[in-house]
Symmetry: C2
Subunit: 496 residues, 2 copies
């Protein structure tokens, strides 16, 4: 990419200016069309220090109405201080439909810097490359237009620019130690950038711009921008292929095979609950100190007892270290983005526990059955979700998923009880009754979901909840076992 | 408050447990009613280190469905590293309608710690006390139920608890250096807490709970919670009194007096634009280094030229250091909170510039005229807005407000042009025509707004924009002058 780059020949300045002017004007109807067709676009601009990334973005946006774009410069947080997954700063920043997001450096810079500083291992580097490819493909498949640019200058040019910055007192602070280090180690960086770009040239291709010729770079960037928008508008939003990649799956029973008879006496329940909650409280302390993130996912039939189950798990936790996220139907600003966005933005900091009361699995249940997304969308989602959860466990998170299970008769009994008990009536809506009529369709969808998304790293547990007491104790035990294992693994890793 | 606190007498444990149980059950219908009536509630829990704040919150929420509440523990960022106004962590965290937010320590802890650590001056302390009172009153007036609790323990009890924590290896980390310092300087803290609470006992009163008796504290907190909710549900949401406080106002002309004839030749415009933009670019660099936050507010008639004006101001700015926020009608999650919330959450970090394309002044213009808020609401808003802007300037921000002004004929001409030019049609909607019919009503509201909110610290500038070129140059000059002044003041302060 970079090492065999052919620098541009000088061009006539007047002609270039004219070209830029025309391209800028042509951009305008395209932005309107993007807005109408709700096409979101992400422009990633990577490049050398002092290559002029900021100035290039300035030129690209100079004629654009602020309603059409955002510029974000993600902070590059040292690995030791980062409390979120690698892609978190980018996944939470994605644009809403109809808007362009300009990212002033992003995942490549992050990866290359940390790799050259040895903040991450070779294995982590490889994992992140894979995560980047997954992320870009998911965005593309989700209808995002993604464009990746690298602004290139050679070593002498960079040295000259950094020296110029250093000389003036008012700009000296802009030539940082890190930048000077990059210039000294230019060759090393060149190789690293090249490698990172070669390895992430999959779903979205790279374009290298000549940063030594400012106007040329502006013209080329504008041209690419227009062409990519044209293509995307012409073809319609890309809609990815269905389920492909095979994750190693845990064998799951189908729901109809599940024995729902297990139950527990009040006495046993009280004793066990106390013991287990006390243990969970201790473990919360431990994972907080060890900075292990925990993601607990609850799905289940209406009236299966999710709420009460969650409360028993949450009770012993320190409120400063956990959050419960009740997931309702998406708000407009959430609907206007990739469906995983509203979960990315709700991830816990490391050391915290978050409990999702309903989750991203809505995609393959309610959204599938109610037609809120296309068939391609939900078919593709199993893979996307497996990738998402793998990224969480690669970050170090414990991910557990509970299907709180009851049979249809039990649901009917509980619905009726809710209907007849004034203080429970808020819990039952017409929608619940409507969903109940679709029990069989849901069961089919749930079986498929369990079969396609129960991975070793993020397993599903079917929790028998005809007896709520039994269900709570069983859930607590699973959580405790998983946290104990995570704490032990953490200890083992520290000892290596 | 604290120094004359009477510690509770021991109570019968069984009876207490029974009381707590009843209170917890009684909470339930109240939460449902809050949800129905969309009543938001903020519970601030302050108190000594090791007093048991976390554990108390745990007990309060233990039976509550997670859909009804959130717990937030705002980070206490050292003054030197904080990039936002004092109240930012709290103002951005306020709950949405129908929900309870539990704040695990907040503004009092923040203030007292920083004051005792001498991170802030006595004058800053007094300013913040005033800001707290403004903030609490604004929340109350905006229909928020606010409850403030302080969990009290004496010095010996605190020492005992800290020692217990320190002894066990798995809890030792929870007795921090800061906590031990607090115990050594208990008397100093006692005085400081007392002073801070006495001074913030205005719109919302304090309640001190006995932290030495855990169950008693739980019972008392639950009782208070229920009583306060009952009162609020009974009286309906509090709706504050109209405009009271008199801020020192700058004298503003009424719009009809404004001479709209000023204009500028293309030649002069180009020359000046280049010169001023270059100067503004330099200043951006300077305010970035000096960490001065800048808030530029644009309001104006439809088609007055706000967009083009903003672009000319934004053009020389480094995209990494500024944001433009186009403000449309609020989204549901924004409507569900105090009207200033969506502006608090969009404030720039210190050293950054943010440009609001329409602002919080919507409250006294469109919301007033279209009846989106009550008369009391908008009448009160002048004062609330003046307070909000004063808090921004007290934080160190440059706040400038531009009314981009044209006459009715010019608007008609531009509307017609937009209507007839295909690539401009997206800019003109039926709503624009409808608003135009209300020109006189708007003019009245705008005159009142200019008269009541043009303060020395956050002045309004009426920008004559019949000639857009003139308007842009005039705006740029005002911005430059204000930034130069801010940089100079900053320099003067450093030299003191």
């Amino acid at each position: 990419m970079l090492k065999d780059f052919e620098w541009n020949k000088p061009e006539d300045k007047e002609a270039l200016n004219e070209e830029i002017k025309v391209l800028r004007n042509n951009l305008f109807p395209r932005l309107q069309a993007m807005r109408e067709k709700k096409l979101p676009m992400l422009v990633l601009l990577e490049g050398w220090a002092a290559a002029g990334k900021g100035s290039l973005i300035k030129e690209l946006i100079s004629e654009i109405d602020p309603r059409f774009y955002n510029v974000v410069t993600p902070a590059l947080i040292p690995e030791s201080q980062s409390r979120y997954p690698f892609l978190y700063p980018y996944a939470t920043a994605i644009p809403e439909n109809g808007k362009i997001l300009f990212l002033d450096s992003g995942w490549v810079e992050n990866l290359v810097r940390k790799s050259l500083r040895r903040e991450i291992t070779t294995e982590e580097y490889q994992t992140r490359i894979r995560q980047i490819n997954e992320f870009e493909r998911q965005l593309r498949d989700g209808g995002y237009l993604v464009m990746k640019l690298f602004l290139h200058i050679d070593r002498d040019e960079q040295r000259k620019r950094l020296e110029e910055l250093s000389e003036k007192p008012e700009t000296a602070w802009r030539a940082t130690e890190d930048d000077l280090w990059q210039n000294r180690e230019y060759k090393l960086f060149l190789k690293a950038y090249d490698e990172a770009m070669e390895s992430t040239n999959e779903a979205v291709h790279w374009h290298v711009l000549d940063g030594k010729k400012r106007k040329t770079a502006i013209r080329d960037a504008l041209k690419l921008l227009s062409n990519r928008i044209d293509k995307a508008l012409d073809k319609g939003r890309y809609c990815g292929d269905p389920f492909k990649e095979e994750f190693p799956m845990l064998k799951m029973p189908v729901l109809s095979e599940v024995d729902l008879s297990p139950c527990m006496s009040e006495e046993d329940y009280k004793r066990e609950l106390k013991k287990l909650q006390s243990r969970l409280g201790e473990l919360h302390n431990e994972i907080y100190q060890k900075k292990i993130p925990v993601v607990l996912c609850y799905e289940g039939w209406d009236a299966a007892g999710k709420g009460g189950n969650i409360r028993r798990v949450a009770y012993p936790l320190d409120p400063r270290g956990f959050d419960v996220h009740p997931i309702a139907s998406p708000e407009p600003h959430e609907l206007n983005r990739h469906y995983l966005w509203r979960f990315w933005t709700r991830l816990p900091r490391s050391g915290h526990i978050c409990i999702f009361d309903r989750t991203w699995y809505g995609r393959v249940m309610v959204e599938r059955l109610e037609g809120f997304c296309s068939e391609k969308d939900w078919r593709r989602a199993y893979n996307e979700i497996n990738e998402f959860e793998r990224q969480l466990t690669e970050w170090g998170a414990v991910v557990l998923k509970f299907w709180i299970h009851i049979d249809s008769d039990t649901q009917l009994a509980r619905f009726t009880d809710r209907q007849n008990t004034p203080e429970k009536q808020w819990k039952i809506t017409d929608e619940d009754w409507r969903n109940r009529e679709k029990w069989d369709l849901y069961e089919e969808a749930i079986n498929e979901m369990l079969r396609k998304t129960s991975t070793e790293n993020a397993p599903w547990y079917i929790i028998e909840s005809n007896d709520k007491k039994y269900a709570r104790i069983r859930t607590l035990r699973i959580v405790i076992k998983a946290l104990e294992k995570a704490c032990k693994n953490h200890f083992d890793r520290m000892m290596e």
